[in-house]
């Protein structure tokens, strides 16, 4: 870990805390209630930023996967793995907040005829299987290369999920962004942006902390092997 990422963690931690606290106050006490969906729409201010984070970190995982395949640097493999892990972790929150919103808005936890929901579910399950692939192989260049290829393949499905709601004929999924102009008023946008900034800051901190943990685990492994007098085989 570099000094830059340590400093970034120290700066972003309080920033995330303050932004999220402000976002909660805005969500519960300031932002007007949506005329169409009522109070339950307020979960949008958490659900959408969390979904954006999930997509973003799956993207980070794919970018580092490409870098790994080009440079074969084990650190890029680790960054890719942590990116996918962060994407799936935030994806779990999407899978939790989505049905909570759906139950209040539609009266059901899930709709199998909604393209957005089902596409996200497929992406989520696809990336869950990434871990099965990764941990079924021995650590080394082969595992890193196969994991990278899998992460790159999966990211191709993300744009599908993003446009699915616009292609959907059923128009069941709540649509809060129109083409060209916003369907939300200024205070709703502000609340959304504060919440997004808070969740993003937290997500970056968690990504860096997790990466730090993985690198520390590798360092311990190397130290243990050195203490046993074993040959250094390089990071797993």
């Amino acid at each position: 870990m570099t000094m830059t990422s340590d400093r970034l963690i120290r700066v972003l931690c309080p920033v995330a805390g303050v932004l999220l606290a402000v976002a909660m106050v805005l969500i519960f006490f300031w932002v007007p209630t949506d005329a169409d969906q009522g109070i339950s729409q307020r979960i949008f201010y958490l659900h959408v930023p969390v979904a954006i984070c999930s997509y973003l970190f799956l993207g980070v995982g794919a970018v580092y996967a490409v870098r790994y395949l080009r440079g074969r640097d084990p650190l890029d493999d680790m960054r890719s793995y942590v990116g996918v892990h962060a994407g799936v972790t935030w994806g779990t929150l999407v899978m939790l907040t989505g049905p909570i919103w759906a139950k209040k808005s539609w009266g059901v936890w899930w709709r199998w005829d909604d393209q957005q929901l089902n596409t996200f579910l497929i992406i989520f399950l696809f990336y869950c299987a990434y871990f099965m692939l990764r941990f079924s192989l021995d650590a080394g260049p082969r595992r890193a290369a196969l994991s990278a290829a899998y992460a790159i393949f999966g990211i191709a499905m993300v744009p599908l999920s993003i446009v699915a709601v616009h292609l959907s004929q059923s128009l069941l999924h709540p649509q809060l962004f129109d083409n060209g102009s916003s369907a939300m008023e200024g205070s709703m946008w502000l609340t959304f942006l504060v919440s997004l900034a808070g969740v993003l800051s937290l997500a970056i901190v968690l990504y860096l902390v997790e990466l730090r943990g993985k690198l520390l685990a590798q360092r311990i492994d190397r130290l243990v092997r050195r203490s046993r007098g074993e040959e250094l085989l390089g990071p797993a």
Binding site: L96, T97, L202, L206, R212, L223, V224, S227
Partner: protein, 53 residues
Amino acid sequence: MIVAAISSSALKYLGVAFAIVWGLTVLYVWILAAKVRRLEQQVVEAERTLDSR
């Protein structure tokens, strides 16, 4: 006004949903921080063991 708003069942539902989500997030952060702290201690101990040889 706030008390009246909180007594609304829709807001209670939303509050519980947010509490569950943030509870899980805080738990995850706590577990991750504890893990990194433990690993940092292990690195220090492993380096000390190697130096003492």
